[in-house]
Symmetry: C2
Subunit: 290 residues, 2 copies
């Protein structure tokens, strides 16, 4: 995994440098919202989505030193952060901590958290526009909308305490989490001008990895400690959230996560050695629960 | 004003038809958010921004029957609606009524109002992508961000009860309201491939009309009745909002609104007869207080 760790470090640094460049400086008027945007953007996110953008781009033979990759990666990370800020609001999941730090509304107040989330979303589209590819803007907008991430968030909120079935949990995870993960991979492939059949296989890889990612998150929420998670352990169960462990049990959830990663591997077999980083990234998600 | 009324009717109908087409049907899962998006999009908005898009497009010699104009107009209207939904939230302006109907969070709950606003914003960018012009996406994103609409909203919220000066009120109005109005006009001109000097004059027209629009709104909030406004009259004063009447008085505010409209007229004198609708639209804003 040494090569993977070097890759993650390189991509995270390049993404952070791009975020540093596109986010307004904190001293710019009105300062409070710019402080919030930076606070949440540099709150210790693992930059999973930027890594998937860059890994897909490089696996599909994209040229070195293409700034568009990190513009797209930074935009996707801002969109992810926007969704977390709104998700944490009192009227939504009402979370006080994320990654061990007070959530945006705890640190800056609710009004600014709503507007700061909005501002990250808008700045992400402004940044995507600077990439200059309409297809990438369409791809991401459609992954975020009500037939993607936001649809998943709605059903997640509405399912609280309802004892929904596996089908509903699958819908929530596939949309709330997997849609943007799949889009990240597709965006990397699109920037490398990958052919249609490669795009299709990478989409399937994205669905499997995205779903696995959320199943693993559910497992960790139940098995992890508040210290390792950076947020309250067991908070999903407390809120009556629709999670995999809640509907199919812990053993079956772990088995399912393993199966999904193996399916993801099969999806990218066609890449051969060029798919090594994508393979390791999938494994990296699994080892968190190994 | 007969020609103007016919124009407004035509553009409103075309915009509504486009919104009808791009908004997901209410029965699509998850239904609640789609119901909210339609509820707020068809809540009696006057379609001022779509009229400005179409008027600028036609004044700059754009060809008849160009669907892109109404896609852009519908997207801008969705972005305006997104900003109103979030603005009305309890943590922001805490308004229960808008245009005589319960606000989104009153009708659907706070969580759905946050997500529904987000969804309209995302769908707007998806719709703009289908127009196929990167420059228009940049234009609108930059008008909405923290050096535009969202910056104005932040200062608006933070100025409540603070007795700020005219400069701050001017900043709020120029950004919160005028930025998207100016962008609407510029988008129409860009779609008609207007030359740079026309764009510049139309931008100035947009600033003047946009500022006048908000000054008139402030005046009406103080002088109108709850019945004519569709929301609580005098609510700005009650909240200690930074408004023109509050900082410069009512007489000076009316005088300023008239001056701004006259400046707007001067800006578009170069269009001659082709600018008739833009001229009448500016007058239409003024007559509300005449």
């Amino acid at each position: 995994m040494d090569k993977l760790m070097a890759f993650i470090k390189r991509v995270s640094e390049a993404t952070d440098a791009m975020l540093e460049r596109v986010l307004p400086p904190e001293e710019r008027y009105p300062a409070s919202i710019h402080a919030l945007m930076r606070y949440s953007s540099f709150a210790g996110g693992k930059r999973v989505r930027p890594c998937l953008v860059a890994a897909a781009y490089e696996a599909c033979g994209g040229a070195d030193g293409d700034e568009r990759v990190f513009k797209a990666a930074a935009a996707i990370e801002m969109l992810h952060t926007f969704s977390l800020i709104h998700d944490d609001l009192p009227c939504m999941d009402d979370d006080d901590f994320r990654r061990g730090k007070p959530t945006a509304h705890k640190a800056f107040g609710e009004a600014l958290a709503v507007l700061g989330g909005d501002a990250l979303c808008i700045l992400a589209f402004e940044t995507l526009a600077s990439v200059g590819r309409i297809d990438i803007i369409s791809e991401i907008a459609s992954a975020l909308g009500t037939s993607g991430m936001l649809g998943g968030q709605v059903v997640d909120i509405e399912s609280e305490g309802l004892h929904v079935g596996r089908e509903t949990v699958e819908y929530i995870h596939m949309n709330k989490t997997a849609a943007l993960i799949r889009a990240s991979i597709r965006v990397g492939a699109l920037l490398a001008d990958a052919p249609a059949d490669a795009l299709e296989r990478l989409s399937s890889y994205g669905n499997n990895v995205g779903l696995a990612f959320q199943v693993v998150d559910d497992i960790l929420d139940e098995e992890g400690t508040t210290e390792t998670l950076g947020k309250d352990a067991g908070s999903d169960a407390e809120k009556g959230k629709a999670t995999y462990p809640a509907v199919v049990g812990m053993d079956e959830s772990k088995k399912y996560a393993h199966e999904l990663i193996e399916k993801a591997w099969a999806d990218i077999a066609f890449l051969g050695d060029k798919g090594a980083i994508l393979k390791d990234l999938a494994e990296y998600i699994r080892v968190r629960i190994s």
